[in-house]
Amino acid sequence: MNQFASHHQHPNQLRHRAEMLRRLAIRLDSIRARDLLALAGPETWDSPRAELCRELLRANLAQIDDAGRRLRTDARLLEDRAAAAEAAALAP
């Protein structure tokens, strides 16, 4: 089953899902892990291994950013689908 599941979902359910995806995206925008980069600069620790940790965290945060954008995209798709479902229901 694809991630947008059933086409039989009620528009309100679709909008609720979109809202939840957006909230998750917003939380990802401000996770505390983003602060770690600022706290883990060379003035805190300095070594090749520390630099590796920082690079890994940057990569992880880039993945989080991608995930956030995707969540927002999916949220829009779910809202579009809810709107389409409502329009179909009102159509004569």
């Binding site: 939840m20 998750l24 990802l28 505390r32 602060d35 770690l36 070594s47 940790c53 992880n60 995930a67």
Partner: protein, 615 residues
């Protein structure tokens, strides 16, 4: 091994924020299938933080440097003096925030960095103490910091710290104490802490040299080492004592330096090996035993320990009893040499007297006035010096009243041991072979005789030895009399009339001794009385020689010509009538000395009787 530089405060903050971040990520959930990619990304970042990040942070956080730093931080509150650490998870150190940033690529040579940083740690503690002593800082804080530094096992031995700074701190301590900035109790604690720091600061011979130079300049430092000597390696006290002794001027030791040196010497004296090690250096020995400004009691303890304290329990090849160490005999040889050219200090004389006691057994075997005194131990030989030089040493010892008493007591105890051996021989003899018994007695007492002859040689250097005589004889007059009685009974056997004669003479001399040595008669100890006693002993001995022929055979003198026996009997008769007849006594002694067997016999009887000790 990877090296790190890090800021402990920031590491602590980073650690906490990492935990917070992981907790937050753990709480992010979504059952929406569209959130699966996001949850996957969250899982990856959690995996990284819990694995790589937290693992590395915990390694740093639990490293010895960080543990120490956190301990200091807990005790003192945040301290900006120690804010940057370098850690390679094994060897680690601390540096100041102001130190220029060290790039990872420049950490290939960690040792200089660590030395620098260790110094920073130590100086931080010392600075805190300095501030406390000058009244600008908290003593409690300084002491807690020093306690952490001195007790931690993580700090490598030999951390670089300037001994000069410790000396300055010690001076500050004395100043603070003198000006009431610190109480006596606190001063003791600070001194203890400084001792701990100083001990930790010593890592090499060069450090000991530095300490030695500092000790010469500041008596307080050597006093500190002496008072806290258990904190230091044994070599420390030796090195300081050597440095102070060598570095003192020709005008003697300053009082404060002499006091510090005395403390060190007393510590060293408690270990005979250390004492001999110090005194086998000729220039040190000479200075310590001749300089009157060195504390007499300390020198006495040191010399006694060096000569007599190194005596072991094993038996030697040619005598029974304890065996001195080669080192202790070398010290004795050194003293003998010095005594020929210098006047020994009172402490040295008393220490020599006390130290000689345990070595008398070995010494007696090797004493012969006709040749230099050499003592063989195994394959090694120590030449103590010429017989006369040794007599000079004993003479100097006898020329000090307390030393004379000590030496007399030592000789007396030694002779008592030998007399007990004689008594054992006599007790085991059934009288059937008195010649053998006599030879055994003579062998047992020959060493006593030789030692007493040495004292006699010293006495002839016009030394008044009343105290020596008294000390030696007092404890054992009963022993002497008992032995004499047994000897007489054994040697005379059934020769009835002679027994009466010998007993009369022995009783007479015994009465003189007892009178001389009773408390009431103490003041009567004098030349005349002792001379009388000597006459009686000699007369008693000669009476056995001129007795019946079986008796002479029994004591191994059956070869004597009738003429000698007759002449001795003649002069003995004069003495019996007038014990003060010196001419008769001289005549007897001349006859006895002319015949080797008679001379040996007289020596034996003198040893038994203690006649030599009486003048």
């Amino acid at each position: 091994m990877t090296a790190f530089t890090y800021d402990p405060l920031r590491i602590i903050a980073l650690r906490q924020r990492t935990f917070d971040a992981i907790d937050e990520l753990t709480q992010l959930h979504s059952s929406d299938p569209a959130a699966a990619p996001a949850l996957h990304a969250i899982g990856l970042i959690r995996l990284n933080l819990e694995g790589s990040w937290l693992n590395l942070i915990e390694q740093i956080y639990q490293s010895p440097a960080m543990v120490d730093w956190r301990e200091l931080d807990r005790l003192d509150g945040p301290t900006d003096a120690l804010v940057r650490l370098v850690d390679d998870f094994g060897a680690r150190a601390v540096e100041r925030r102001r130190r220029p940033h060290t790039a990872p690529g420049n950490l290939t040579g960690m040792a200089p960095v660590q030395d620098h940083i260790r110094t920073a740690i130590w100086r931080s503690a010392l600075r805190a103490l300095d501030e406390a002593l000058s009244g600008t800082g908290s003593l409690a804080v300084a002491m807690r910091r020093i306690e952490v530094l001195t007790n931690t096992t993580a700090l490598p031995e030999g951390a670089v710290v300037g001994l000069d700074e410790l000396v300055e701190l010690l001076a500050s301590l004395h100043w603070a104490l003198a000006h009431g900035h610190i109480g006596i109790g606190d001063a003791g604690a600070v001194e203890d802490a400084l001792a701990g720091l100083t001990a930790r600061a010593i890592a090499s011979d060069a450090d000991l040299d530095t300490l030695g130079r500092a000790a010469v300049a500041d008596p307080g430092l050597s006093a500190l080492v002496a008072r806290h000597h258990r904190r230091f390696p044994p070599a420390t006290t030796l090195r300081l004592a050597t440095a102070i002794t060598s570095g003192a001027g020709t005008n003697g030791f300053e009082p404060a330096l002499a006091e510090s040196l005395a403390l060190l010497l007393v510590v060293i004296a408690h270990n005979a090996d250390d004492a001999t090690r110090l005194l086998t250096a000729p220039e040190i020995l000479t200075r310590l035993v001749t300089d009157p400004s060195v504390d007499a009691d300390a020198v006495e303890m040191l010399v006694a320990s060096a000569i007599g304290g190194g005596v072991g329990a094993a038996s030697g090849d040619d005598h029974d009893g304890p065996v001195p160490s080669m080192a202790s005999l070398e010290v004795l040889a050194g003293l003998t040499t010095i005594a020929g050219d210098h006047r020994l200090s009172p402490g040295a004389r008393r220490g020599t007297a006390r130290g000689l006691g345990p070595v008398l057994g070995l010494l007696g075997v090797h004493l012969d006035h006709r040749r230099p005194v050499s003592v063989a131990l195994g394959t090694d030989t120590v030449r103590l010096g010429d017989y006369n030089a040794l007599a000079d040493l004993v003479s100097q010892v006898l020329d000090d009243a307390p030393a004379q008493v000590a030496l007399g007591t030592m000789f007396g105890a030694y002779r008592m041991d030998q007399l007990e051996n004689v008594q054992a021989i006599l007790a085991d003899s059934d009288g059937s072979d008195p010649g053998t018994a006599t030879r055994m007695i003579g062998a047992s007492l020959a060493d006593v005789t030789r030692v007493l002859e040495l004292v006699g040689a010293a006495q002839r250097r016009h030394v008044d030895t009343e105290l020596f005589d008294f000390a030696m004889s007092k404890r054992q007059v009963q022993q002497v009399l008992t032995t004499l009685g047994i000897t007489a009974a054994l040697l005379t056997g059934p020769a009835g009339p002679f027994v009466l004669r010998a007993s009369h003479l022995i009783s007479l001399s015994a009465a003189e001794i007892v009178t001389a040595l009773t408390p009431d008669g103490t003041e009567r100890i004098g030349e005349g009385l002792q001379a009388d006693a000597a006459v009686h002993f000699t007369a008693a001995a000669v009476s056995m020689v001129v007795g019946p022929a079986p008796l002479r055979r029994a004591i191994g003198l059956d070869h004597l010509d009738d003429d000698i026996v007759e002449r001795l009997g003649h002069h003995l008769g004069i003495l019996e009538d007038d014990p003060s007849d010196v001419d008769a006594l001289v005549a007897i002694e001349s006859i006895m000395a002319a015949d080797p067997a008679l001379d040996t016999y007289l020596e034996t009887v003198r040893a038994i009787s203690g006649e030599d000790s009486l003048g």
